[in-house]
C-alpha cells in the first residue's frame, strides 16, 4: 500500500508486488516499509543488518524485516534518489554497504509521515465511531 498525493487529495493505491506466495505474510506493506527505512536512517547511516535491527528496535520488535524485502527496498529507494550508499567498515571491521538519507529522502519522509498521520487519525476516528 502506498500513499501519495494527487491534486491535494489523498489517494490510496494498493500495489500488489509480492512475487512468491510464501513471502506474502512476511512482506511488509511497501509504503510502510519505505517509511520505516527512511525513519531508521534519519539519525545515522547504517548497513543492511543495521537497518533491520534499528527497525526492530524502534518498533519494539513488531516489524522484523527480512533481507528478501529489505534489500529490494533499499536498492529501489537508492534508485529513486532517496538514499545514497557507500562502502565502509562495520563496527567489527567488516566491509559493508552503508546507506544514508538524501535531501529528497528527507522530504519524502516528511510527506509520508504527514500522510501516515492523517490516515492513522482518519482510521482511528472511523474505528471509534459507533
Amino acid at each position: 500500500m502506498t500513499l501519495y498525493r494527487r491534486e491535494g487529495k489523498l489517494l490510496l493505491q494498493i500495489i500488489y508486488m509480492s512475487t512468491r506466495d510464501d513471502d506474502l505474510k512476511a512482506d511488509l506493506l511497501q509504503g510502510t516499509l519505505d517509511l520505516l527505512v527512511l525513519k531508521a536512517l534519519s539519525a545515522q547511516s547504517l548497513h543492511g543488518l543495521g537497518v533491520s535491527n534499528r527497525i526492530s528496535q524502534i518498533t519494539n520488535g513488531t516489524f522484523d524485516v527480512k533481507p528478501g524485502s529489505l534489500f529490494p527496498a533499499l536498492h529501489r529507494m537508492e534508485e529513486a534518489g532517496w538514499l545514497t550508499a557507500e562502502w565502509g567498515e562495520s563496527e567489527n571491521k567488516r566491509r559493508a554497504k552503508f546507506y544514508s538519507v538524501t535531501k529528497a529522502g528527507r522530504r519524502q519522509l516528511e510527506t509520508e509521515t504527514e500522510d501516515w498521520q492523517r490516515i492513522s487519525l482518519a482510521i482511528g476516528s472511523a474505528l471509534r465511531a459507533s
Partner: protein, 880 residues
C-alpha cells in the same frame, strides 16, 4: 524531478555496469550474512550453528538477489534481452525441434495466407462499384427450367425499362468482338461491350479521364463514340493524357474517344477493352427481328429490396406473356444480386477451399501444440531447477513466452515469404475465369489472422509447462521428471492431437483424391474429334467493309484455299463457334410430320454453321447420308444433324431424307441429308446436345473460327497461316491463334486449378500430419528408453520392441483414419457438383487415400521405433 534524474542515472548504470553491480550485490548480501552470523555468535551460538541460522533467516541468498534485480530500473529491458538470448540458445540447441516447428508454422501461415488471400479477394472483398449491394443483374428465365439466366430480348428490355419502378437505372449490355485499328500496332481483335447510356451511372463508376456517355449518344446515328479501358489506353495509346477527342477505328468505323475507365474496372468479363453505346432503335421491332442477346444490369432504388424488384418484374413478365404469346410464353424474369452473380458460380469451390484452409490451420495448430507439449515434458526438470535457483513464477512464464513468440516470429517470417511467393504462383496459375484474380494481393488482415492464431497456439501451449513447473512443490517436480516414467500429464493430450491431425489430413486427402480422380475422368473423355495437330483461330469481319454476304463467303473461301495450299496442311475448315469455348447459338425447332409442341415447350437445338471441309479438318465421322458440299448454297435448304439429335428425335427411323424446321428466320423446313458423330461441344463434362449444321451460305456469319489440320506440330503453322490472311486483307486481325489441345486445356483450366489448390492443401496437411506423428512417436520412444531397456533385459527381441512402438503409433493412426473416413463420408457431399464421372463417396479413392496415409504414418512410426530397438539395454537402463 530529482527522482527522474536519479532513475535515469540508475538505468544507465544498470545497463552498462552490470558486472560491477552484480559483484557489489553479491558482496552486500554476503556481508549481511557475515554480520548476522557474528551477531548470532555474540549471542552464544557456535560458528556452524550461527551460520546455519543466519542462512535460514536470510531465506536463500540467490532469491534475495533475484528480488533486488527484479526491482531495478530497466529490469524489463534487461530481462527481455536475457530471455531472448537464452531463448535463441535453447532453440538452437534443439535444431530438430526448432526446424520442425518453424516449418510447421511457415507452412501453416504461408499456405493459408496465400490461398485465403485468393479466396478473400474473390469472395469476401466487395466489388469495385459504388454501393454494390444495390446492383442486380436482370435475366430472362425459361419457366420450363431450361435456362435460369438467359440473355434478354431487346424488345423485352425496353418494356421492362418503361414499366418498372423499382430501379434508379436499368442498363443493357451486349458483348461483341470488334476489330480495332488506330493507335500503335497491328489491327487487333478486341472484346467490347455495347451498353446503354445508363450503364455507368447504374454501376456508379466514373471514367478516370473524360466523361461517360451522354443520353443523346445512346441513339442511332449519334453513337460513334467510345470509352477505352485503362489497359487499352496504356497498351495502344501510350496513356496519352490528351486522348479525349481523338479517333479510333472500330470495325471500319471512326469513333471519337470520350473517356478512359479507371484501372481494374470491368463488368462480368475482365477481357473487355472498350465500351460503346448500344443505341437501341425504338423504330425497330426487335421482338420479331432479333433473338435474345442482351444482359441487363440495374441499380435498385433506395429502400427497394431484391424481392420487391423480383415481384414487380414477375408481374411485368406475366403481362408480356399475354401480350406476346408467340415470343414470350414460358419466359419470366430473374433478378440476381450482383455479388451473387460474380461469385455464385464458383461458390462451391470456394467453400471447399475455405474448409481446407480451416483444416490445415487446425492441423498446424495441433502440431505446434504437440511439439511444445513434448518439449515441455522434456524440460520439466530444467524448469524445476530454475525455479529452485530463485526464478520466480512470473520470470519462468516470461521466459517461456519469449521462446514461444520467438519461434512464432521466425516461423511467421518464413510464412510471410511463403505467402508472398504462393500468392504469386496461384495468381499466375489461376485461369482467367476466376473473377478479379488480377486484383488479388496478400491481405494484411488475412496474414494477421493466421499469424495471430498460430501465435496464440504457441503462447497457450508454451505457457502450460511454465505454469506446471512453477508450482510451489518443486521437490515433486524434480523427483518425478528424474524417474524416466512413461506416463505424464501431456500424453493424453498429445495422443488426441495426433488422432485429430490424422483424421483432418485424411479428409483433405480424400477431397484432393476425389478432385484428381475426377480430373482424370475428365481428361479421358472421348471428345468425338481428333484434337491432335490442329490449329485454330478466329476472324471477325467488320460489317462495314464486308456488308454483302458474298463478300464474307468469298473471304473465308479464299482464306481456306490459301491455307490449304500451304505445305504440310492436310485440311482446312471453318465453324461459327469453336467447340469447348462455351459459345453456341441455340434455337427451337420442329420435325415435319411430328406433332407440334405447345408454345414455349418447343425442343431446343444447337445451331452450327460450317464450311463443308469442317468435318475432315476436325476428324468428325459421317455416320449416315452425305456431308454438305460447295454446291449447297443458300437455296439448297439442306442440313446435317448430330447423332444425339438422331437418337432423341428420330428414334427408330432413318432421319436422312426427313424434313425439319429450325425457327431461325422463319424461312421454312430443311431436308436432313446426313448424320455426323457427336462431339463434346459445350464442355468436356457436358453430354452432347442435339445439334444441326448448316452450310455457311445458308447463314453467312461474319465471324468464323478456322480449323487447320496439319501434318506435324500445329503450333508451328501459326505465322504462315496469319501471313496468308494478311495477304488477303491487311487490315484484318486474327485472334486466339492456338492449337486445339490448348483450347481443350483452357476449357478444363478451372477443374485443374481447383484440383491444384486442393492438392496443395492436402500435401501440406500430409506433411504436417506426418511431422506431427513422427514428433510424438519420436518423443514417446525417447521417453520409453528406460522401459525398452528393461524389456530387452528381460528377453524381449528387437521385433517385439518394434511391434510395441510401431503398434502404439499405428493404433493412433488407425483411429484417426477411421474418424477421417467417417468425416469424409459426411463432408465430401458438399463437393459433389465439383466432381465429374465419380461420386463424392468414390470407394477406390477412399481406400486408396487411406492406404497412402497409413503408409506414410507407418514410416513416421518406423523411424523412431527403429531407433528405440538400437538401444543398448545397459545404457537404456541408466538412461534418464
Amino acid at each position: 524531478m530529482k527522482t527522474l534524474f536519479s532513475r535515469a542515472g540508475s538505468l544507465l548504470r544498470n545497463l552498462t555496469r552490470k558486472h560491477q553491480m552484480e559483484r557489489e550485490l553479491t558482496e552486500e548480501v554476503g556481508s549481511y550474512v557475515e554480520l548476522l552470523t557474528e551477531k548470532k555468535m555474540k549471542e552464544g551460538m557456535n560458528e556452524r550453528e550461527a551460520r546455519r541460522a543466519a542462512l535460514v533467516e536470510v531465506g536463500g541468498v540467490e532469491q534475495v538477489k533475484e528480488e533486488v534485480r527484479a526491482g531495478r530500473t530497466g529490469v524489463a529491458i534487461e530481462t527481455f534481452f536475457q530471455d531472448l538470448r537464452y531463448g535463441m540458445r535453447s532453440l538452437l540447441k534443439k535444431p530438430g525441434f526448432t526446424l520442425t516447428a518453424v516449418i510447421v508454422l511457415a507452412l501453416g501461415i504461408g499456405a493459408n495466407t496465400a490461398i485465403f488471400s485468393v479466396i478473400n479477394g474473390v469472395l469476401l472483398r466487395s466489388l469495385s462499384y459504388a454501393n454494390p449491394d444495390r446492383i442486380v443483374m436482370l435475366w430472362e428465365r425459361s419457366l420450363a427450367g431450361r435456362s435460369e439466366q438467359n440473355v434478354v430480348s431487346p424488345a423485352n428490355f425496353l418494356d421492362w425499362q418503361k414499366q418498372s419502378a423499382s430501379f434508379e437505372q436499368m442498363a443493357a449490355v451486349a458483348e461483341q468482338r470488334v476489330n480495332l485499328t488506330g493507335g500503335t500496332g497491328e489491327p487487333e481483335e478486341i472484346k467490347a461491350q455495347f451498353v446503354s447510356q445508363t450503364f455507368f451511372p447504374a454501376l456508379g463508376v466514373q471514367p478516370l479521364v473524360g466523361r461517360s456517355f451522354l443520353p443523346e449518344e445512346d441513339t442511332v446515328g449519334n453513337d460513334l463514340v467510345i470509352i477505352l479501358s485503362h489497359e487499352l489506353w496504356r497498351a495502344r495509346f501510350g496513356s496519352d493524357p490528351e486522348i479525349v477527342g481523338k479517333q479510333a477505328t472500330i470495325s471500319g468505323r471512326q469513333r471519337t474517344i470520350v473517356g478512359v475507365m479507371p484501372p481494374g474496372f470491368h463488368f462480368l468479363d475482365n477481357q473487355v477493352r472498350a465500351w460503346m453505346p448500344l443505341a437501341l432503335d425504338p423504330a425497330i421491332d426487335y421482338r420479331e427481328k432479333t433473338g435474345r442477346y442482351l444482359r441487363g444490369v440495374a441499380r435498385l432504388k433506395p429502400g427497394v429490396t431484391v424481392q420487391q424488384a423480383q415481384g414487380e418484374l414477375t408481374g411485368i413478365a406475366r403481362q408480356l406473356e399475354q401480350s406476346f404469346p408467340n415470343k414470350n410464353t414460358g419466359w419470366g424474369i430473374n433478378v440476381v444480386p450482383m455479388h451473387e452473380q460474380v461469385v455464385g458460380e464458383i461458390r462451391p469451390v470456394l467453400i471447399v477451399l475455405l474448409a481446407a484452409v480451416a483444416f490445415v490451420l487446425l492441423i498446424a495448430c495441433a502440431n505446434v501444440a504437440n511439439l511444445l507439449l513434448s518439449r515441455a515434458a522434456a524440460r520439466q526438470k530444467e524448469l524445476a531447477l530454475r525455479a529452485a535457483l530463485g526464478a520466480s513464477r512470473g520470470r519462468l512464464i516470461r521466459q517461456m513466452l519469449t521462446e514461444s513468440i520467438l519461434l512464432a516470429l521466425v516461423g511467421g517470417g518464413f510464412g510471410v515469404l511463403l505467402a508472398y511467393w504462393g500468392t504469386q504462383v496461384l495468381v499466375a496459375f489461376g485461369p482467367d475465369y476466376i473473377p478479379r484474380l488480377d486484383e488479388i494481393t496478400i491481405d494484411p488482415r488475412v496474414l494477421g489472422f493466421t499469424f495471430g492464431i498460430s501465435l496464440l497456439t504457441g503462447i497457450f501451449f508454451g505457457l502450460i509447462p511454465a505454469l506446471q513447473s512453477s508450482r510451489p512443490d518443486l521437490n515433486d517436480a524434480l523427483k518425478e521428471s528424474s524417474r524416466g516414467s512413461t506416463g505424464g500429464r501431456g500424453r493424453t493430450f498429445r495422443n488426441v492431437f495426433v488422432v485429430a491431425e490424422v483424421s483432418l489430413a485424411l479428409v483433405l486427402l480424400i477431397g484432393a483424391g476425389l478432385m484428381i480422380r475426377s480430373f482424370m475422368e475428365l481428361q479421358a473423355v472421348e471428345t468425338g474429334f481428333n484434337p491432335e495437330n490442329v490449329l485454330t483461330m478466329r476472324a471477325q469481319l467488320p460489317r462495314k467493309k464486308y456488308s454483302e454476304p458474298h463478300q464474307v463467303l468469298d473471304f473465308f473461301k479464299q482464306a481456306q484455299d490459301r491455307i490449304a495450299a500451304l505445305p504440310g496442311v492436310q485440311a482446312v475448315g471453318a465453324i461459327s463457334y469453336l467447340p469447348l469455348t462455351g459459345l453456341a447459338s441455340r434455337d427451337s425447332f420442329r420435325v415435319v410430320g411430328q406433332p407440334a409442341a405447345a408454345p414455349g415447350q418447343e425442343p431446343g437445338v444447337e445451331v452450327r454453321v460450317i464450311t463443308p471441309t469442317y468435318f475432315q479438318a476436325m476428324g468428325i465421322p459421317l455416320l449416315k447420308g452425305r456431308l454438305l458440299n460447295e454446291r449447297d448454297a443458300k437455296e439448297s435448304r439442306v442440313l446435317l444433324i448430330n447423332e444425339t439429335m438422331a437418337k432423341r428425335h428420330f428414334a427408330g427411323v432413318d432421319p436422312v431424307g426427313k424434313q425439319m424446321e429450325v425457327f431461325w428466320d422463319g424461312s421454312g423446313p430443311d431436308e436432313i441429308v446426313g448424320v455426323v458423330g457427336d462431339i463434346r461441344e459445350g464442355a468436356l463434362n457436358k453430354e452432347p446436345e442435339p445439334a444441326i449444321y448448316w452450310a455457311h451460305p445458308r447463314v453467312p456469319y461474319a465471324g468464323m473460327a478456322l480449323i487447320v489440320r496439319t501434318s506435324g506440330d500445329a503450333a508451328r503453322f501459326g505465322a504462315a497461316v496469319q501471313k496468308e490472311i494478311r495477304a488477303l486483307d491487311p487490315d484484318q486481325p486474327v485472334a486466339d491463334v492456338r492449337t486445339m489441345q490448348q483450347v481443350i486445356a483452357k476449357s478444363i483450366a478451372r477443374p485443374r486449378f481447383n484440383m491444384l489448390l486442393l492438392t496443395i492443401f492436402a500435401g501440406v496437411a500430409l506433411v504436417l500430419a506426418s511431422v506431427g506423428l513422427y514428433g510424438v512417436m519420436n518423443y514417446s520412444a525417447t521417453q520409453r528408453t528406460h522401459e525398452v531397456g528393461i524389456r530387452m533385459a528381460l528377453g524381449a527381441t528387437r521385433a517385439d520392441i518394434m511391434r510395441l512402438v510401431v503398434g502404439n503409433g499405428m493404433t493412433l493412426t488407425l483411429i484417426g483414419i477411421a474418424i477421417g473416413v467417417l468425416a469424409s463420408w459426411a463432408l465430401t457431399r458438399v463437393m459433389a457438383n465439383l466432381l465429374f464421372g465419380i461420386t463424392a463417396t468414390d470407394l477406390p479413392t477412399f481406400i486408396g487415400v487411406s492406404a497412402v496415409l497409413a503408409a506414410v504414418a507407418f514410416i513416421a512410426n518406423y523411424i523412431p521405433a527403429r531407433k528405440a530397438t538400437r538401444v543398448n539395454p545397459v545404457i537404456a537402463l541408466r538412461y534418464e
